[in-house]
């Protein structure tokens, strides 16, 4: 079973206008930058990008281009805006959010992790303690007022929990340090972050891999993402990037 694509266009051939794509990574770390660049080149539009913690703040150049090209309809993230208000005001994404041209849904990070995990495991929704006492327990948090759908809460053993729904993307864009041709993946250090759970959650998972190897060259004990979750992979160079955000 060989899942390796030779060309980027082939790797993302079925990504169409209107797709929902999970973008892995945590700020600058473990972000599938080359798959994002392929989206820019492909010019697909009306995209929903579901994130975990700021991969689009980390991959700021790619995000800026996607927004300038008007390819993004909606972003779901726990940390979608620059921390610096000054930098934010100059950011095309934040400007589009302020004007309501792009939707930003803000979800606590651990809630996102659990919503992907639920989708991966065939669980429709989960009750979580996160966000009780904040707006998160009352309604969906978004800049688009019409989409502030009320949420359900329930008490278990005297403590209040909020119902959060599984989040199942059409695609997941994954960045791995090593992967074999059958799609077994291994990540490097903190670049693992949201990669495994997004790979498991999406209908179609596409991995960019720094080192593609033959089956058996990753010990079975060392695989982080079993190949069953991965549809296609493509070899990419290790590119350097600045490890900073503000």
């Amino acid at each position: 079973m060989n899942k390796v694509c030779e060309k980027m266009e082939e790797a993302i051939a079925d990504v169409k206008d209107g797709a929902t794509i999970a973008v892995a990574g945590f700020f600058a770390c473990g972000v599938p930058r080359l798959l994002l660049r392929a989206l820019i080149a492909k010019k697909v539009k009306n995209l929903t990008l579901t994130c975990g913690c700021g991969p689009l703040v980390g991959a700021a150049d790619e995000m800026r281009q996607l927004v300038i090209n008007k390819q993004v309809r909606k972003v779901i993230d726990s940390y979608g805006l620059f921390r610096s208000a000054t930098k934010g005001r100059q950011d095309p994404f934040e400007q589009a959010v302020r004007k309501g041209e792009v939707e930003l849904e803000v979800v606590p990070m651990g809630t996102l992790a659990e919503r992907y995990r639920a989708a991966a495991a065939g669980v429709p929704a989960v009750f979580l303690p996160t966000g009780i006492g904040s707006v998160v327990e009352k309604a969906v948090v978004t800049n688009i007022i019409a989409n502030r759908t009320p949420k359900e809460t329930r008490e278990f053993n005297g403590r209040k929990y909020v119902l959060e729904y599984a989040l199942k993307p059409d695609f997941a864009f994954i960045h791995a340090f090593r992967g074999d041709t059958e799609g077994n993946l291994r990540y490097s250090k903190t670049a693992r972050n949201f990669n495994p759970v997004m790979a498991a959650a999406a209908a179609v998972t596409i991995a960019e891999v720094e080192n593609v190897v033959e089956p058996g060259q990753i010990d079975g004990d060392d695989v982080h993402t079993p190949g069953v979750y991965v549809k296609r992979l493509i070899q990419v160079p290790r590119i350097s990037f600045a490890v900073t955000i503000d």
Binding site: V106, V107, I132, V197
Partner: protein, 222 residues
């Protein structure tokens, strides 16, 4: 009037004294991050929600690995025994009450232990960055705030009623500022320590809720 208190590094040092050997600790962005400068020699383990236990000191120069950052996106180093895991494990630890101490920054806090820190309406948006803050509040065994006592203009951040979007309700245990150390109790905020040269009345003058002055009130001890 803006009172003269202790610098941010010293707030961090004071918080570090409340962290005990054997504690697993998660530090938020801002003053809390500085606490890691004061933990040498303590037998504690720092968790970073990106997916790391026992994260080491900040890395620079040749030591920077772009695959190794903390939850504030700063390059860090490994220690003997550092471990990595994915985000689901990370928040299983956090929500599963494995963090003995969580320290966060805050824009506002009240006497009931509610605090606001994720969205600043002065930015002109009613949404912001939640990150891992609400999960950390939901799961912390002890929740501390490390913050400036007032805004840059000298206005109260320790308020009767929170006006910014709250992060959590009733979870804060202790508040450490440049001016004072306070404990959140069912009766209200107990003032336990004041910065050198200040009186309880000075601290009260920049604090909205009525402070209960501890009979053992003392200068902030490092």
């Amino acid at each position: 009037m803006k009172l003269e208190g202790i610098p941010r590094e010293m707030i961090a040092l004071r918080v570090s004294k409340e962290i005990k050997d054997g504690d697993y600790v998660n530090l938020g962005i801002g003053i809390p991050t500085l606490i890691s400068n004061w933990t040498e020699g303590k037998d504690i383990i720092l968790q970073a929600e990106i997916g790391m236990l026992k994260n080491g000191p900040l890395a620079d120069g040749d030591m920077v690995n772009q695959d190794l950052i903390n939850a504030s996106c700063q390059p860090v180093m490994e220690l003997p025994g550092t471990v990595y895991f994915d985000i689901v494990d990370s928040f299983t630890m956090i929500r599963g009450k494995r963090m003995d101490v969580v320290v966060m920054g805050a824009m506002q806090v009240n006497a009931r232990g509610d605090y606001a820190g994720w969205a600043n309406p002065e930015r002109g948006l009613d949404i912001g960055n939640i990150g891992g803050s609400m999960d950390l509040c939901a799961g912390a065994k002890k929740l501390f705030l490390a913050m400036e006592h007032t805004t840059r203009e000298g206005n109260a951040k320790i308020v009767n009623e929170i006006t910014f979007p709250p992060t959590t309700a009733g979870k804060v245990n202790m508040i450490f500022t440049d001016l004072a150390v306070m404990e959140v109790t069912p009766k209200g905020l107990v003032l336990k320590e004041v910065a050198p040269g200040l009186t309880a009345a000075d601290v009260q003058s920049v604090t909205e809720p009525k402070l209960i002055v501890s009979p053992d009130l003392k200068e902030i001890e490092f």
